[in-house]
Amino acid sequence: MNRRSFLSSATSAALIGAGGLSFLTRDAEANTPSIFKSEFAAAAANNPYLTPYRGATSDLYCEALTIEGKLPAALRGRFYRNGPSKFERGSERYQHWFDGDGMVQQFSFSDKGVSHRGRFVNTNKFKAEAEAGEFVVPAFGTGIRPKQRITGPDSMNTANTNAIEHAGRVFAMWEGGSAFEMDRDTLETKGAVTWKPGWEQMPFSAHPKLDPQGNLWNFGSAGNAFFVYHIDPTGKLANTQIAKLPIDRKTYGGMNHDMAVTERFIIVPMPPVTIHFDLIAQGKFGAEAAKVHKDAPLKIWVAPKDDVSKAQIFELPHEMVFHVGNAYERTSASGTEIVMNYVGSRNDNFLAGAAVAIMRGALENAGESQMRTVTMNLATGKASLTTFDDGSEEFPRLDPRFIGKAAKHVVTPTSWRKRPNADFGFHALQVRDVESGKTTRFDYGDDFIVEEHLVIARPGSTRELDGWIIGTAFNAKQQKTCVSVFDAQNIANGPVARVWLPYWLPLGFHGNFTPIQNQT
């Protein structure tokens, strides 16, 4: 057939957000990015704990960090973190913590000591806005008027949520679009990752799980469309699956954030959240725009890895969930059970309240977030729930050798006392025995904001928690960020070593550690 006469229509351009986004109705006198900028500047001038929320202004590098104490000789590898790090351009400041552009931090532990490199992820968005000197596309919680065409999620992708090295490749991940690959040695951004032809701009969530065999499992979702990725230990895409979630999109599908894997199953908590971009576009981010449906239950989606169409859904009492610790399978008299721990919060104020307030320098109650263990019986469809209510905790991690297995311990930053100027952050670290509920704790003290900590296996060992726990913390008194290294089996005595940066970093979300001996 003659191509010139084989006629095709042009686009109806399937796009995001879709019609009806009126940027003309925005209330110029309301909470504008400019007002946030001035209010934050005034608050940060009087509260040293707010410094990390200023964000970074440039890439960072330090060849030799100051080491306090004695670093374990066998602790060698690359510790990555990622988080929202660019909050202001021109006269504007973002109105939600989640909006900032991603910056990947890499701490390299080697025979020479510890070096640090921090680089912004040079996404399409970051490039365009750096060139323009202003924000040019809408963000999750800030109704920036688009000044360039939005051709899909990657037009707004900040790659700001997590970073992981897998099979020698470094990925900076968001939730609504592609992962961005960065060079392992320089952290130079290589570009958006398309796992297979035709899957450009597909959602690749920020919490992939690396199983003990080296397989990377992840999901992506948009409304009730659900996608599963299996990347083998060599970094090749082994399989993708597509599923349609049996959920009411008026109540669910806005924020499926984290996942767990067991040997045979994938598990995803689905909190009752919907996101309303028409309101966000009008500069009206709030409890109606990021709506947590208070009467609706938390749903847990459980699907066989080899056929996610055969999923089961369990219902639990209403609450908000961002993060999962771990899950494993066990056999009971009544059939196979999935046991999973996660952090839940029955106070819904974080997403639309505290995470907005902090951007104007205001401290608002984020609510207690607590560890739960749910046991889901696949034969009976029944679930039982255990709650640990001895403080607030988040960012759960475990010994990576036990992902998908019956791990006994979960590590979280935690708080049990109020701090007037720093109540948005944690002041301590804990290791929880998820069977007994007992905790071992180390209190960093009032000067610190404690971030996610990871368990690093001691090379050659096999026993759970035989290794170290490492993590970042911001010291408000010194205005610097440090990495603390603990003996994982004895955190109460404090870190065995602490590595200090000569500068502070923006508070991040998540990260991962790649031992050098696993280098590919």
């Binding site: 109806s12 986004l21 701009q201 999109r249 961002f322």
Partner: protein, 144 residues
């Protein structure tokens, strides 16, 4: 930490088989489409012209395709359309399958554009993309 609930519109891909209309390179007395921002030496420029709100994305009155050469700019004449206003939609068919490819969420994976002032956010509409045709003297801009 967020999933964007992307609302997706349908892709209208019309596999017409008409043979009596061809794209013409810059004929002297017909309105000209000035297409910019193309990826050079890649695939085909595919164009569709509509003459009313009712027919928009349903029934083009003029369609055409031309290979994209070394330049990122092309001029294409649109003749013999009897309308005061038209709307033009376009995509660059990178793989030669004669349709606008999309990912599983329906998001285009090939470059696309439209006349007029297409919305920054969402699918083009007749109102956004309509431009004067009859008596047009300046080129009609199509920016990829």
């Amino acid at each position: 930490m967020k999933t964007f609930a992307f609302v997706l519109s349908a892709i209208a891909v019309l596999a017409l088989t008409a043979t009596d209309v061809k794209a013409q390179s810059a004929a002297s007395d017909c309105p000209v489409l000035q297409v910019t921002g193309l990826k050079p030496d890649s695939g085909m420029l595919m164009l569709a012209v509509y003459d009313s709100r009712e027919s928009f994305f349903k029934k083009p009155v003029w369609v055409g395709g031309q290979p994209v050469g070394a330049s990122s700019t092309m001029q294409v004449s649109v003749c013999n359309v009897s309308a005061d206003e038209i709307a033009v939609t376009a995509f660059q068919d990178m793989n030669g399958n004669q349709k606008l490819d999309t990912n599983p969420l329906g998001i285009p994976t090939e470059p696309y554009a439209a006349s007029g002032k297409p919305s920054m956010f969402g699918a083009p509409t007749w109102n956004d993309t309509k431009v004067a045709y009859k008596g047009a003297t300046a080129p009609i801009a199509i920016k990829f």
